[in-house]
């Protein structure tokens, strides 16, 4: 791999993290009123729990040394956050630090995210390609295009509708959680099936919301590939239709889709946060929801930083994998 390309991506990853950490610092410091006081006030207005509010404010002031010059505050904040991964203390679970509270939720979020994103990406791109392929039967095409408007509906709206339909009216799936409460924690087959059973509805909300997006963008990508001479050549050689479709058309058309995936990650993660809340799925989104309800300021900040860092990391990984998929890119320097 081109060293300059690698370096460029690494630099932009670090810049993204630094910029967002700085943004968080500015937001907590320069807003017109004390963010913790504000949050407490508003949470009280929406009827949420605000236990231990006074200690929270006192600790906040002490911890950030608000009497020190702003530059000193900034540097100590950045070194705590970036070098030590110190996000402060959770107030709901005091004196537990923020990191373990979030870390316990990460496997659930990551699992749900990876499975549904990859499934939606593969299925959406295949369906999108099929919709443009001449030998696809017409009815199938209409079904595929009917998926497109579904992607306009937000994740949490789809989640509410699916929940009502498939867990309340027809109780096929559980109404929430990630596993049956009180079950044993061993890794037996029954347990795995239980976890899958609980993940179907949250996963389906994400997949349905994403499918149409991939169908539409793959349609655009296929339109560009369809005119290429290598397809004509493959046909002239008498290759089977399926082979031309998979090896020649889809493979080439899906390359720009990987870039689109990188651009879309943030949206998916934000959407998943809300889906987790609706299904009480014990991931990072649910941690955030509880933190907002209890005005657990540092946990909120920690979850937000976690989302930013993981999206930046995933983008970096995709950017580094991309030249392996498309060898042309490493010869291009400058903008890729």
């Amino acid at each position: 791999m081109d060293l300059r390309y690698l370096l460029k991506r690494l630099v932009s990853f670090v810049v993204t993290i630094l910029v967002s950490a700085t943004l968080m610092f500015i937001l907590t410091r320069l807003t017109p009123n004390d963010p913790i006081q504000a949050l407490l006030g508003r949470m009280a207005a929406t009827g949420s729990n605000i236990e231990g509010g006074a200690e929270l404010v006192a600790m906040y002031r002490e911890r950030f040394g608000l009497d020190q010059p702003i530059l000193v505050q900034y540097l100590s904040y950045m070194s705590n956050l970036i070098l030590r991964g110190d996000f402060g203390y959770s107030l709901a679970y005091f004196p537990a630090p923020v990191l373990p509270v979030i870390a316990g939720a990460i496997p659930w979020t990551l699992g749900l995210f990876l499975v549904s994103t990859i499934f939606a990406f593969v299925a959406g791109n295949l369906l999108g390609a099929l919709a443009t392929w001449p030998s696809t039967p017409r009815p199938l095409r209409y079904v595929i295009y009917a998926l497109a408007p579904v992607s306009a509906i937000p994740y949490y709206i789809l989640a509410l509708l699916l929940l009502y339909l498939l867990a309340v009216i027809f109780p096929v799936f559980p109404i929430g959680g990630a596993r049956t409460a009180g079950g044993d924690q061993s890794l037996g087959l029954a347990n795995i099936l239980d976890i899958v059973h609980h993940a179907v509805l949250p996963g389906l909300s994400i997949v349905l919301a994403l499918l149409g997006f991939w169908v539409l963008s793959m349609r655009g990508a296929m339109a560009l590939v369809k005119g290429e001479s290598y397809l004509m050549y493959a046909r002239a050689r008498g290759l089977r239709d399926r082979r031309i479709f998979m090896r020649y058309a889809v493979r080439n058309a899906s390359l720009p889709q990987v870039t689109a995936l990188a651009l879309d990650l943030g949206k998916v993660v934000s959407g998943q946060v809300l889906v987790e809340i609706i299904f009480s799925y014990p991931g990072v989104g649910y941690v955030l929801y509880n933190a907002l309800r209890t005005a657990d300021y540092f946990v909120i900040q920690g979850v937000v930083m976690f989302v930013i860092i993981s999206v930046a990391l995933a983008t970096l990984i995709l950017d580094l994998v991309y030249p392996l998929l498309d060898p042309r890119i490493s010869y291009r320097d400058g903008q890729a």
């Binding site: 929406t46 992607s151 937000p154 651009l263 946060v273 809340i277 909120i300 989302v307 930013i308």
Partner: protein, 286 residues
């Protein structure tokens, strides 16, 4: 040019079924909620103005919820509020995006590099994450404040699209001719570039409105909507009071359906406008 555009829009109206359906969906949501003060008592949206948890009846067509608010009044008052947030957020997003995109594309150089890199870094930071921090930092979240905040998620895409379009227009004959004849940059921007960008800006605006509404509802579902009566806060309280498990479908389902209509309407309109603004797309799909 304007005549040509009007003709193209008219033709799109008559032959684009999605656009027509999208406009109808939006009209079905907007018109009743705008005219509602004439035929419905919106005071019923106040706490304890009605009985608790009443199912739909003649008196309360969509029933009431657990705080004693009439659900129909909540919807009729909440829809305009949600749309206003969308218009403010989308409006700011498109204005900022158009300005930055034009400056970046037209002047190029260091300014362009700076704007392009800002957008690139900005696009990797999920706007929703930043919005949570912003919304959590204000004591009172008014409608305009919410609109201005969600604009953060709506300016980057227009900036990109406008910039790349300006890059291509800038090299065309009539712009070069205008430059050679010594016309000032401002007049070129407003006289030559802007008129050509109008279809693209319109399509971008519809998209930006949808993005803004999406972000605001997301924040409200998290409980960060403050005291505003919007569709999002209605859903938040419906979830908070577990309306779904208690069989109070008339509470959570109506705001959900109105939002589905709004998002489908905006999606259909923006897809159709995209095709008007971008004739290449039309050819690719046929």
């Amino acid at each position: 040019m304007i005549g040509n555009l009007a003709f193209r829009v008219w033709r799109a109206l008559t032959y684009s079924v999605p656009l027509t359906i999208g406009c109808l969906l939006l009209a079905a949501v907007v018109i009743p909620s705008v005219l509602s003060p004439l035929f419905y008592d919106l005071g019923l949206a106040r706490i304890a103005s009605s009985g608790l948890n009443l199912p739909p009846s003649w008196e309360h067509p969509l029933g009431t919820q657990s705080e004693g608010r009439d659900v129909l009044a909540l919807i009729l008052a909440g829809t305009p509020a949600t749309l206003i947030i969308g218009l403010i957020g989308g409006g700011i997003g498109v204005l900022v995006g158009t300005f930055l995109g034009m400056v970046s594309g037209y002047f190029g150089g260091r300014l362009d590099t700076a704007i392009r890199n800002t957008v690139d870094v900005g696009m990797t930071i999920p706007p929703f994450a930043i919005l949570i921090m912003i919304a959590a930092s204000f004591k009172v979240v008014t409608l305009p404040l919410m609109g201005a905040a969600v604009a953060i998620s709506a300016w980057m895409y227009p900036t990109r699209v406008i910039r790349s379009q300006v890059l291509s227009i800038r090299t065309r004959g009539y712009v070069r001719m205008a430059k050679l004849s010594g016309i000032g940059d401002l007049r070129i921007i407003f006289g030559e570039l802007l008129p050509n960008l109008i279809p693209l800006i319109t399509a971008g605006a519809v998209n930006a409105i949808a993005v803004s509404i999406l972000a605001s509802i997301g924040l409200e579902v998290l409980g960060l909507g403050g005291q505003n009566l919007t569709l999002g806060t209605t859903i938040y309280f419906a979830i908070y009071y577990a309306s779904m498990w208690r069989g109070l479908w008339w509470w959570w389902l109506p705001p959900v359906l109105v939002l589905v209509a709004i998002f489908l309407g905006l999606f259909l309109v923006s897809t159709a406008l995209d095709e008007v603004a971008n004739p290449k797309l039309r050819r690719a799909s046929s």
